[in-house]
Amino acid sequence: MESQLARVDSTVFEDRVLIVITGEIDLSNADELRAKLSAETADQTSVDMDLSRVEFMDSQGIRLLMELNQTLDSSGGQLRVAAPKDSIVGEILQLTQTNSVVTVVDSFD
C-alpha cells in the first residue's frame, strides 16, 4: 500500500527541476521516496530540493540526499537543498555535515 507519510511534487524548468517534499521521511517510506525521486530526476542535471515542508527526517533522508548528490555529481549536475537552519531537517543536515557536501540554503525564494 502506498504510504501517505510524504508527498512529492515536482516542477520542471528549462535548466533544473524543483522538487518539493511535504510530510515526514523515515524508514517506512525511504525506499518509496527513492524510487519517486529517481523517476523525477532522471535526465535532469540540476535539482533543487525544497525540504522546508518536511516535518521530520532521519538518517534515511540523509542517505537519499547523498545518493542523489552522487548521481548528479557524476553527470556534472548539481543538487541544492532548502531547509531552515532551526528546523529538524536543518539540524540533522548540520549534524551529519551534509551541508559541507551539498549546497544548503534557507529557502529558494
Binding site: 515526514e24 524508514l27 517506512s28 521530520f56 539540524e91 540533522i92
Partner: protein, 1200 residues
Amino acid sequence: MVFRRRARIWRTKHLGDVIDKTPHSDHVLQVGEERLRLALDAAELGSFIWYPNEDRTDPDVRMLELFGVETDADITLEEALTRLIHPDDRERYGEAVQRAVDPSGDGRLREEIRVLWPDGEQRWLVVFGRTSFAGNSNEVTQMAGIVADITDQRAAAEAEARLASLVSSSQDAIMTVNLDNRFTTWNESAERLFGYSAEEAVGQPVDLIVPEELRDEMQRILNARIHGEYLRPFDTVRRRKDGSLVAVSLAVSPIFDRSGRLVASSAVLRDISARKKLEAEAAEQARRSEFLVELADALRPVADPLEVQVVATSLLGEYLGVDRVFYGEIIGNGSEYVVAPGYTSPHVPPLVGRFALDDVADALLSDIRRGLTVIIDDVAAHPSFSKDEKAAFREGQVASAIGVPLVKDNDWVALLSIHQRSARAWTDHERELIEETAERTWAAVERARAEAALRRSQGHIRAIYEGTTEYTGLLTPGGMVLDCNRASLEFAPDVPKDEIVGRPFWEGPWWANTPGLPDRIRSAVSLASSGTFVRDELRLQRPSGQAATFDFSLHPIRDETGDVVAIVPEARDITALERAGEALKASEERFRSLANASPTIIWTADEQGKITFRNERWLDYAGIMVTDPAPERDLIHPDDVDLARTAWRHSVETGDDHEIEVRVRRADGEYRWFLIRATAQRNSDGAVVQWLGSSNDIHDQKQVEERLRESESEQRDARRRAELLAGIVSGLEQVDGLRNRARRLLELLVPDLAGHGSISWMGSGGVVNKVAVGADPSQDGVSFGLGGEASATMSLALTDKGLRARESGFLHEVVQRVGPLLENARLHQEEKRMALRLQRALLPNTVLTHPDVSIAARYESASDVMVVGGDWYDSFVLPDGRIGLAVGDVVGHGLDAAAAMGRLRIALAAIATQFSRPGEVLGKLSDFASGPNGSEFATAAYAVFDPETWSLEYAAAGHPPMLLLQPGGTIRWLEEGRSQPLGFLPSVQRSDASIEIEPGSTLILYSDGLIERRKEAISVGMARLRSELRELVDVPESEVCDRLLDAMGVGLQREDDVVVMAVRLGVADNPRFHRRFDARPDQLAPLRNDLREWASRREIPTSSANDILIAVGEASANAIEHAYRDQTPGSVDVEILDSGDGWANVSIQDFGEWLPETDHDEMRGRGTGIMRGLVDGFDRVSSEEGTVVSFRVSLAGKEE
C-alpha cells in the same frame, strides 16, 4: 488498518469543530440533521438520496469514499457507480434496484455488492434503500439509503466458515456431550472412526460407544466433570458401530456458563490403534527376546544332549502354557522316529518311545518332509484328517498341535512337537518363537553331542597309550597308590592288592628287592607330581631273584586349570629285548598298530616339532600320507598358518603343551576346523623326547556355535530396531508442531544414522520451510518422500550404519511410520493458525491512541487450540470527544461465541455514538443481544471518560466490577451501576454511576478469566487482583497488563480466555512516556505523533523535543532494522522520564538479537553518529534478552 482508524479520529474531531462553530441559534431541523450526519459518520455509514425521475443521485462524502470515488474526479457518480461495481455484481444489483422501485414490492433495497477501488482493492458494501412514492400513486419520487462497509465482517464470516469446516474435517473425532450424557454434536471424523453418522449419534447416550467393561472409567470421567476438571488426554478403548473395539486417546473439557455452572463437555478422541499395535509388537518382541536369551543361558552349561532337550522343552512348555513339548528324532532311513524325554504338563500322560512314521497323518507328513511347519489350531475341525487319525489324536489328548521339522543337509532329521489338550489359535509370533526355539535347541543338542564324541575320543587315546605298557595303575599327586592293574599285581603274587593300595608307590613290591631303587622311584614321583613326564629304564630284581629290565614312565594328569590331579605309572618288561633301541622300535610299532585303530587323528613329533608319525585317520582325511611336516603346514588354512607356527615355536622353546583351533584342508579341498593338541613326552631328566598329539574335527560343533551366535545377534538387532522405532514414534508424539516434530526426528537419526539431515515442506503461501540438523550440510543426501499435503521430504547424508539401516529396510519403515505423524502435526498447526486468525479478525487491531489516555490491552487465548473464546475489548473516541472503553465476554467457547463477540463489539461501538449514558448504551446492547444477531448470554462493562470534566461514567451488565488505581496508591472497586447480563430480561432500566478522576489514575478492565480459579470462590480471586494491583503504582500500563497476567497465575494451561486492559487517564501530566510497539517501520510515524503530544503537554522546548524526536527515531529505526533480522518481528519499548532536573532519561529496548555488523550497515553507523551528536551519555548494551540503548537529552532548549 491502523491508518483508517487514525483517519476516523481526525475526521471526527474535524467535524466536531464544525459543529462547535455552528451557531446554536439555528433552527432545530438543522441541528437534527447535523446529529444524523454525526451518527452516520461515527458509524462509518455513507448515505444518499436517489431521484429516479431525474436520474440523479445526491451522495454524501462518505458514500463517495466507500465507493472509492475521488471527490474531485471528473466523472459523474452514475458513471463511477457503473464502472466501480464489480462486474459479477452489476446485474444482480440492477435487478434489486428495479424491484425496490416496483410499486408492487415493499419498496426496500438491501443488497451486498463488491466495489473495486481505483488502487485495485476490493471492498464489500451493503446498500440499504427505502423508496418513497408520491401520495398514494405509484410514482416513485425518491429513494433514500445508507451504505456500509462490511468487508471485515465478510472476512470474519469467511474465516469462521473455514474454521467450521476445519473442525468438521479435523483428523480427530470431536463431539460435545450435554448434562444428560447425550451427544449433541458429532463431527465427520467421529463418523469415520465409529461408523455412526451424526444423525444416528446425536441424541444418543454416551454409552453408545463405551464398552461394558469400561463403565467404571465412565464414572471417573463424570466425576471429573462434576468437579469441572479438564481431563488430559489418556489412552482408553471405545466400541464402534460394528462392535469392534478401537484404541483411542481421549481428552474431555468441561464447558461452563457465566455463573460457573457446568453446561456441557466436549470430547476429543484420536485413533491410536496403530500406535498401540506397534507398542504391543515391541512388547511381544521384547518378551520373545527375553525368552530366547533365557533359553541360551540355560542351555550353555548343559553338556548332556538329552538334558539339553529336557531343559529346552520345559522352558518352552512353561512359556507357552502348553501340555507337551518334545523332540522326535528320525532314524532307520526315515521310517521311524524316537520321542525323546521332553516337557509334559500334569494334565496329560507323557509320551515316550519309538513310533513308526506311518502313524503320522499323511497330510502332515508331506508338509513336514518339505521342511514346513505344521500348525493345527483344532484337530476336530481340521479337514485333512481321517476319522481314525482324529481318534488317535483324541486318545493322546491332543486337540491342537504344532510340528516343526529340523532339516540338516536337506534331510529331515528331527521334529519338535507341541501338543495342547484344548483347541488354540496360534499367533504368528508364537509360531516364529517355536521355530526359533526348535532351531536353537537342536543346534545345542548337536553341540552337546559333538562335545560328548570329543570326550569319548580323548578316552580312546588314553586307553591306547596305557596299552603300550604292561603294568599300569593310578597314583595321587603325592604318590599314594590308588589302583593298579592285574599285570602289575602278577609281579609279586604273594602281596595282596590291599597292601599296595593306599601306600606310597615307592614302598611297593616291585623295587623292594633292589637296593637304592625305592629312593630313585620316590624322586621320580616327586618330579612327576610337579607336572613332568618321566621315562626311565630300570633294572630290578624279581621276587624270584631274576634280574629284569623295565621301560618305566610316570605320566602326570592335569585338570583344566593345569594342576596335577593324578599320576599314571607304566612299566613294561623289556628284558627279552637285547637293545634299548630295539625295545623302543617294538614299542613304536605296537603304538602304531594301536594308533591306527583309533577313530581320531593322532600323531607324534620329535622334540623339534617335526612330525614323525600319523595314524591312518589322517590318510582318510587329507588323502596323502607323509611324515614330513611341510605338507601338513600347507594343508592348514593360510589365515591360520601363523597361529600354528607360533604355537609350535613356543612349545619347542619352553616345552609347554599347546592346544590350537585351525582349519585343515580335506582331500576334497574343503577346510574344516580342527582342535589340535600337542603334549610333551619327557625322560626322567625332564627333557622333552617327543610330542604326542591329536587332531579332532570340531567343524560341526564350531558351525553350530557360529549359527547360535548369529541368530542371537539377529534377534538382538531385531529387538533394537523395534525399540528404536517405538522410541522414535513416542518421541515424536511428545512434541507438538510440525517444525518441532521434524527437528526431533532428525535429532533421533543424527549423528547415529546420518551425519546431516534436513526435512523440508511447503508452508502456507508457497514458502518452503526447512529444518536441518548435523554438522556438514555439504554432504550429498539421500531423499525420502514423507507424503502428506505439504509434500514433506527428508534428506539424509547416511553414515555407514545409516546405509546398513537403509539396506535392511529399517529406514523405509521409519519413513512410513513418521510420515503420518508429521502430517498430523501440520494439520493441527493449520487448525491452530486458523483459530488464531479468526480471533484476530474479530478483535480490534490496536487500542486507541489519544493524547488524554494511554491504553494497553492483552488478550490470551485458552490453551486448547480448538477453543476459540468470546472475550473482547474495545476503545474509541465518541463524537463529543469523550473516550469509550469496553470489555465483554460471551458465554461459552467455540465459533458461535467468537462470532457473537465480534457482533457485540461492533454493535456497542455503533450504539455508543447514539446514546450518552453507559447504562443506556448497555440497555440498547442488551436489546441487540436478545435479537436475531445477538447471543444467548453475555456480559459487558462500559465506561466513558470525559477529559474536559475529569469524570468517568460507567456501568456493568453482569460483568465483574472495574478497578481504579489512583496516583497515591488507593484502589477502588467501581461497584455501582450494575445490572443483569446482556440478552436477559430485555428493555429493563439499567443504572450507571459516575466518579471523579484524579489525573494519572489507572482504570483496569478485565474478563473473569483473570480472577476465576477452579474450586475457588470468585471473591478470593478479586481480593488477589486488588492486592497485586497495589504493587503496580507508577508502572507503565503495558507492564501493568503483563504483570497482572503473570501474577494472577494465567499460566500455561488456561481453560478460559482472558482479557485485561489498563487505561491511564490523563497521561498528559505523566512525566513518564512509555510506548511498546511492533518492530515495523510503519510504527515510527505514530510513535513520533505520541512523542510530539507528550513533549508539547510537558512544554518541552522545541529544540529539545526535536532532539528527542531525532534520537529516539534513529534508535527505534535501528532496532526495527537489526534486532529481528531473519526472525519474527518482536516489539520495541521506548521509555522516557522527565526527571525534573532539566534532563530527560531515554531508553529504547528491543528483545531480539543483533547480527554482527556488515559492510552494508553504513546506515547503522550514520544513525549512531547522529544520536551521539545530539545526546549525552550515549550507551548501548546487548545481552541475551536484547539490546538497550540509553542516553540523556537536555530539556533546556537552545539559547537563541
